[in-house]
Symmetry: C2
Subunit: 347 residues, 2 copies
Amino acid sequence: MRKTVYLGPVPVGGGHKIVVQSMTNTKTEDVEATAAQIARLEKSGCEVARVAVPHEEAARALKALLERTTIPLVADIHFDWRLAEAALKAGVHGLRLNPGNMKDPDGIRKVVEEAGKRDVPIRVGVNAGSVDRKRFPRITPEAMVESALFHIRILEETGFDKIKVSLKSHDIPLTLESYRLFASLRDYPLHAGITEAGFGPSGLIRSAAGLSLLLNENLADTVRISLTGDPVQEVEAAYALLDALGLRRRGITLISCPTCGRTEIDLESMARSVKEELSEVTEPLTVAVMGCAVNGPGEAADADFGIAGGKQEGLLFARGKIIGKYPEEELVKRLKDVIMEELRRKR
Amino acid sequence: MRKTVYLGPVPVGGGHKIVVQSMTNTKTEDVEATAAQIARLEKSGCEVARVAVPHEEAARALKALLERTTIPLVADIHFDWRLAEAALKAGVHGLRLNPGNMKDPDGIRKVVEEAGKRDVPIRVGVNAGSVDRKRFPRITPEAMVESALFHIRILEETGFDKIKVSLKSHDIPLTLESYRLFASLRDYPLHAGITEAGFGPSGLIRSAAGLSLLLNENLADTVRISLTGDPVQEVEAAYALLDALGLRRRGITLISCPTCGRTEIDLESMARSVKEELSEVTEPLTVAVMGCAVNGPGEAADADFGIAGGKQEGLLFARGKIIGKYPEEELVKRLKDVIMEELRRKR
């Protein structure tokens, strides 16, 4: 069992549920825009938000930002220990920094002491792209882990142990081996991600494929899916992944068949409108939208709610039972009514 | 090591490369539309196409379809052995059918004999949604595997062994356990997929997460990523997954960072235009499009080609070396020029 650290009230590690986090891509010093993005992230289920603090202006914005947000904030800092000290004094809930990259030992010591006093964890984050090439000409799992330990030892030497670790790369086999190796050496909680995964479908696929392997081997306590674009997508993707692996549920899990020559209804637009109509639901529910008589009725009956399409009409299922047969254009509305009615009764 | 079967010239199993397949969603009897879709699938790298044959009209179209397509075709048939016989006589390269669902033992015997004579493999495909609920009230890995073996034994009793098997569901832990169990009992090649994964990001994530676990344990010889929508996306997704896992490469692997408060260039649109501009490349190449000075230069130098962004400008890398610094608006064009020049020299 790995240790637990706390980002504000949120436990990470120690067998607690896997924490979903993301990172803002606004200018941190633009408090208005950053607070608004964090509010959108929180609404989508994000539990911890990270903000880049590349300069003093960003560090000065943290206090106002913390006053306007409710989920824990982590300040992402490189090279300059003064920014880390300022972030701590502003009240951030976590730091991400690699102490070995900060050239001033006294400065680092101050930061670590301050973090210790405030119970603020520090994540050491090694990325394949920033491993020291003079020491490690080839990026191997050993190089990734040794780079992390180099930073970690600086913290450990001061007695600080509120440490999280990430060992990210875009290379899945390298990432998997690095986490396996690290987990065999230290029991700090693990922040997992596949970095520089790219945007669009291939980015999602790379992240899901890599994190699936890490999660399946219990090598992740918190995840961030890094995607180029709106960070809300990162949170939605993280929940979709945790849901797919049976680890956490939030909102609608849509089961829909891929359509084929047997399909007699417009399944794709029906599936899309089901997802849209039910986007505000946070209760975990499985909804099947199926196109034909081969697998449709079985899946629709197994799901919490379901539609099994036929010829321009379909059967509506609720909790395993057929509750009606409706024309295609009415199906989604009927489905929504039945679901909202059940939720109202339960709330 | 599992057995090998052949779909036309394409080997599946036996340690051969993992075959990428998809399924058309046109009406099979619309030869024009189906042939056009198969041509698009082939262009995107699809190696085997499956078509639904739900009735005689579809079966009658197979001969014309086979004349107009070059990749092997698999006919997907349910319930009616006569359709399978017709598909074999038309010359299909594979069948997907569950003999236990065809109620006529003599008919089945004819189909299996004909398939044997023609060296045409039969895939037994169990879907969680179509498991016999009277026999198996709860869908467990044992129920999935026993359902498959029920169909397989009918084939084996006639001495037929050109068998492929799939055990699909939308439930990843169930799917993984089912494939593990089956692979411990029989050595037929495995067709892997997560079915009813849904559309859009969550469908991609579910498929990638599930197939990643199967591929990582060598439990897949051919994959289909089932997505609601254009099947060309299924093929692109399959290659993105195989690429991410280091199993097969095709075309551009884009490495791009998720953008953050440090980014000073419009990374997302740059990444998108790199992907678009290089979409015709089939040679495996890694291209990094990075936003800042922290991880950018390392990743850009490691990739075959790369851009490391700075303030409205960026460094261009080729084969690990900086080859120039260009303004933001020129970077993508310069990158493309360098890549196309190298490809011309090599071709």
